[in-house]
């Protein structure tokens, strides 16, 4: 990275550090409200987590297949650009002009040779390096840049980039372990069940704002308890049922996790666990079952893998849906979700159509997406307006094995890691 002298931390962040009045409760199952509501925590998270030693999802290679292709993206709340240069190499850099700070790129995606900031036309190449500034030598021999002005000292702030099986991750830090070590063997194995190296095909992108703290979304995907209770589409049609064969993995640091579920053939028999599930609609039948039809395509024992990669990525394989959800925090009580849906480049037309049809389950208009989005709003409403205290995640034990489904183990392990990173 270049001109690091320009990258001093902000007063906001300095002040955010004054959180000495915040005390984490002793009960290991307790989660204090203030991690969802306090703006100082939000500022601190930007620096300690998103700008810290983390690999952040920023793009799929399939979104920028050709040299010159680029997309706008984010790390934490920071707008960035991901671009592929003429040699095919992928770069990522801040979407902030090195001159006066303009967020110069305002298109979702495109193809270009150069990025030109509109204000004063400072011009950057596909690696984010400053290529030229107008009137560098002034006009008629007067004015312009100082004699000692060096273009290379005014590049866009570059990011550390890594790709695996078509997925692009970036970090503000150079001193960080490899992505493979970051995930660890078990998560990497899960990652590779979704991204098995086959070229991907982008099907589309959805975006929505969520009226809640971004961590509530990480929790949601680490929470098998809600999965088997809230979602009629999962419970009634057996996509995720407590009775199914299940596995819950976390990495050694407890920050990443995967929920695996093996859907039985046909409809789940009316087993014991159903009684406890109000969302189970025994009578319900689909007039058009194609939306749930499983077309075998992997030799995985699992029919769904819900992978959370800390801090900003949710990977979901459910039946034949493949999707990446990018978390973009927008303050303590709001975040943006970017739902990138894809298939494999070698899908035939029928399979592509099947994935598109099945996607009715997810997204901001999906049968399951609506449940979760609303539930997260309910929680943020509660912690924002009620008398501050703490919630509890007491289910299961930390020592239990991966097959135990009614557990908050993955949530507790996340917050152990979080407290370390945040110094709380």
């Amino acid at each position: 990275m270049t001109n690091t002298s320009r990258f001093a931390s902000s007063p906001a962040v300095n002040r955010a550090e004054e959180v000495s009045d915040l005390h984490w409760p002793d009960d290991p199952a307790a989660i204090p409200d203030w991690i969802y509501t306090d703006p100082r925590i939000y500022e601190l998270e930007q620096r300690r987590i998103f700008q810290g030693r983390t690999w952040n999802y920023v793009a799929l290679e399939a979104e920028l297949p050709k040299p010159g292709d680029y997309i706008r993206s984010y790390i934490g709340a920071t707008p960035i650009i991901v671009a592929r240069d003429e040699h095919g190499k992928i770069h990522a850099f801040e979407n902030r002009c090195a001159h006066r700070g303009a967020e110069f790129c305002k298109t979702y995606r495109g193809n270009t040779k150069l990025f030109i900031c509109p204000y004063h036309q400072w011009t950057y190449d596909l690696s984010g390096a400053l290529a030229s500034v107008p009137f560098r030598r002034g006009v008629k021999g007067v004015g312009g840049m100082p004699a000692d002005f060096k273009l290379e000292e005014h590049n866009l702030r570059g990011l550390n980039v890594t790709c695996r099986h078509g997925v692009v991750f970036a970090s503000f830090r150079d001193d960080i372990e490899s992505f493979e070590d970051y995930l660890g063997p078990d998560m990497l194995d899960q990652f590779d069940t979704v991204f098995d190296g086959r070229p991907l095909k982008l099907l589309g992108v959805h975006r929505n704002t969520m009226p809640g703290n971004w961590k509530l979304y990480q929790e949601n995907l680490k929470d098998p308890y809600h999965a088997t209770l809230l979602h009629t589409y999962l419970t009634t049609f057996g996509l995720f049922v407590a009775g199914n064969k299940t596995m819950i993995l976390t990495d050694s640091k407890g920050r990443h996790s995967t929920l695996c579920n093996a859907r039985p053939q046909g409809r789940p028999e009316n087993d014991q666990s159903k009684k406890e599930i109000r969302s189970f609609h025994a009578a319900m039948k689909l007039a058009d079952p194609r939306v749930l039809q499983l077309i075998p395509e992997k030799d995985s024992p699992w029919t769904s893998n819900a992978i959370t990669i800390w801090p900003n990525l949710i990977l979901l394989r459910q039946t034949n849906i493949l999707g990446a959800r990018q978390i973009v925090p927008m303050g303590a009580n709001q975040f943006m979700l970017i739902w990138t849906t894809f298939g494999y480049a070698d899908d035939d037309a029928a399979m592509e159509q099947h994935r598109l049809r099945q996607n009715n389950i997810f997204g901001p208009g999906g049968f399951i997406g609506i449940d979760d989005n609303e539930a997260i709003k309910f929680v943020q409403d509660g912690v924002t307006h009620s008398i501050p205290r703490h919630g509890v995640a007491p289910l299961g034990q930390d020592v239990e094995g991966p097959e135990v489904v009614i557990t908050d183990r993955a949530i507790r392990s996340l917050y152990r890691h979080y407290r370390e990173e945040m110094g709380l």
């Binding site: 992108v205 007039a287 208009g365």
Partner: protein, 172 residues
């Protein structure tokens, strides 16, 4: 492309025919909206033909020719499955919605098939929250005219509000 100018009509219509079709579609849209804004979602499929198609499409996906839809129903079965889910199985806070549908425009007519467009805006009101704009966009429609009665063979809703506020419960 779904967001491009309107398709040429097969046989030119007379002013009077156009006007009649247009007002028939305006009536149709008024009833369609009233059904949804009353929360009577299970009546919604009745506005479509048996093979009716409904799609809710983000304008940026449409412009980029990406095939993904936010909602997609191919035929009466999927239309009814979505209506049933909203009425009975999905969890969401109660809400009022209100449609405003304007600029209905017949863009083609051929063999009882009418192509038309309109603009829509939907307002959403949650309990003890101010009314907010949920989504605005364009209908790109194909109607089947059966005698006096119109039915949707296809309704594509192309929405400008790419950054969806929380979620879309009722189909626009």
């Amino acid at each position: 492309m779904l967001t491009s100018a309107h398709s040429p009509t097969a046989r030119p219509l007379s002013r009077a025919q156009l006007r009649d079709l247009c007002s028939a579609i305006e009536e149709f849209n008024a009833d369609y909206a009233d059904t949804l804004d009353r929360g009577d979602i299970e009546q919604w499929p009745s506005y479509f033909t048996e093979d009716g198609v409904y799609r809710l499409i983000a304008r940026d996906n449409a412009d980029a020719n990406l095939p993904l839809s936010l909602m997609s129903c191919e035929g009466m079965g999927m239309l009814k499955d979505r209506a049933y889910a909203i009425a009975h199985t999905e969890m969401f806070a109660p809400r009022y919605t209100l449609h405003q549908i304007t600029q209905v425009r017949v863009t083609g007519f051929d063999e009882g098939i009418i192509t038309a467009r309109a603009n829509y805006v939907i307002y959403e009101t949650l309990i003890d929250e101010p009314t907010r704009l949920l989504q605005c966009g364009k209908y790109r429609d194909t109607f089947l005219m059966g005698g006096e009665k119109l039915l949707l063979k296809e309704r594509n809703c192309i929405y400008d509000t790419v950054l969806v506020p929380t979620c879309i419960v009722y189909p626009p």
